[in-house]
């Protein structure tokens, strides 16, 4: 398949991206290209120009400071999945990055491109929403931060303005005792999420404390499962309590469920509680293992506020 013709420009800095975006209205940014190039080949998009940002060093890399992980927009899924810092401070993000597509796709796809594209069948929006991430965005006037909760607005629709550039993703480091998990029901060929469920849970005195549950894949944009969170909060984390809470997810799904030739909307609706239950079970298991065995922690496993 051949993409429609487009002009091509290469930016060497974030400032230059902004200049090129203002000079070429309608241009799209090319990072790893693993969402954009398929769109072009299918002729679902026909931008007049692409601005290749893939070589900008300042947009790459992972660092930890002030209670947050900062992940440069051009950091690849493979780098995130292999990062010991991400594994330590945002384990659900590491898990989700490691089940995107396949190894060759993970070598090219970037976190910034992923969130800016906002594919409903993607994994990262679901987990970034659960972890309370925010996006550092360069704008015409400077910089702003957009929380994940207000970023993903609809299918392939975000809060980004025409000249906005996602430069980094900031993820709060996991509080002590929190268990995280990402549960994915993959399409067997494309490896996109038919359903993705993320959970971040803390235990207080044997009871479920703060709990966040999110869903993607079956809804136009990742959502929080408030009914599940409410049902589980304050409960002892028994298998029954988890199953009952997971069943409440049907209240959170809304009317616009995605269905296709592989998995109908009805089927996804029926499978959603299963995925939520699995995510919660795994997250609670991790939370309780942390609560029971604090001595096993390595010295670097120290919350930033200490």
């Amino acid at each position: 398949m051949y993409a429609p013709d487009f002009a091509y420009y290469r930016a060497d800095s974030v400032a230059e991206i902004g200049r090129l975006l203002r000079k070429h209205p309608g241009a799209k940014l090319l990072a790893g290209g693993h969402s954009l190039i398929p769109l072009l080949k299918l002729r679902l998009a026909a931008p007049p120009a692409l601005i290749d940002i893939g070589r900008i060093g300042e947009l790459k890399g992972i660092s930890v400071a002030d209670g947050r992980l900062r992940i440069g927009a051009l950091t690849t899924h493979a780098q995130i999945a292999a990062s010991s810092e991400v594994a330590a401070h945002a384990p659900a993000l590491a898990a989700a990055a490691g089940v995107i597509g396949d190894p060759a796709v993970r070598n090219r796809g970037t976190i910034g491109g992923n969130v800016a594209h906002a594919d409903p069948a993607s994994d990262l929006p679901t987990v970034l929403l659960a972890l309370g991430a925010s996006f550092a965005v360069a704008t015409d006037d400077g910089e702003r931060a957009i929380p994940a909760g207000g970023f993903f607005q609809d299918m392939m629709t975000t809060a980004l303005g025409e000249h906005d550039i996602v430069t980094a993703v900031d993820v709060p480091t996991a509080p002590e005792g929190q268990g995280q998990a990402y549960e994915k029901f993959s399409h067997p060929a494309s490896r996109y999420a038919v359903i993705g469920a993320a959970a971040a849970v803390g235990l207080t005195g044997g009871k479920v404390g703060r709990v966040v549950v999110t869903l993607g894949g079956l809804v136009p944009a990742a959502i929080r499962a408030g009914s599940v969170e409410q049902a589980l909060s304050g409960q002892a984390p028994s298998a029954d309590a988890i199953a009952d809470a997971a069943a409440a997810v049907s209240n959170d799904l809304g009317p616009d469920l995605i269905g296709d030739i592989y998995a109908s909307a009805e089927y996804r609706r029926a499978m959603a509680p299963v995925c939520v239950k699995r995510a919660l079970t795994a997250a609670l298991k991790r939370a309780s293992s942390v609560a029971e065995a604090p001595a096993a922690r390595s010295p670097w496993w120290k919350p930033s506020w200490l």
Binding site: D5, Y8, L30, H34
Partner: protein, 158 residues
């Protein structure tokens, strides 16, 4: 609009003027005539077009030639050292890891990536590492056996 690119393929440098929309796989097959790399699904699912870009695997149907400007590409043609097959090629032959052979160039390049990252993989890791490559003939059993044989050699580093 055309753009000048300089891409080194299997050690030989090619300077060409290309349309920005030209895919890397078409650069390889049609511009420089290196047809070992296949186009299968053309939708980044089947892995037949897998090559190495600066030593790391990618699906060349989902990359533009301009993105490879200045880079080194390794294709299936670049693995053997003269008449001596690469350990992965040897292993696919020995273990009958192919029937029609269409997926094989991509399967071997993806196996190269797997052994680069995981030099001594378990069977489960081999299957996970090759999940982006589809084979419609073998049922994968002999492909897993071939990769297992090649593991423990220097297959991922060559």
């Amino acid at each position: 609009m055309t753009v000048p690119v300089s891409i080194t393929v299997n050690g030989q440098r090619y300077d060409r003027e290309v349309e920005p929309r030209l895919l890397l796989v078409h650069f390889l097959r049609e511009v420089i005539g290196s047809t070992g790399t296949k186009v299968g699904c053309d939708t980044s699912q089947c892995g037949a077009c897998t090559v190495l870009l600066d030593g790391i695997s990618l699906k060349s149907c989902t990359a533009l030639a301009v993105q490879a400007d200045g880079a080194e590409v390794t294709t299936i043609e670049g693995l053997a050292a003269g008449e001596a097959l690469h350990p992965l090629q040897d292993a696919f032959w020995e273990k009958h890891g192919l029937q029609c052979g269409f997926c094989t160039p991509g399967m071997i390049m993806a196996s190269h990536e797997l052994l680069r990252v995981t030099p001594d993989p378990s069977d489960a890791q081999i299957r996970h590492g090759l999940e982006g490559n589809l084979c419609r003939c073998t049922g994968y059993q002999n492909i897993v056996r071939a990769v297992r044989q090649a593991a423990g050699t220097t297959a991922g580093q060559r």
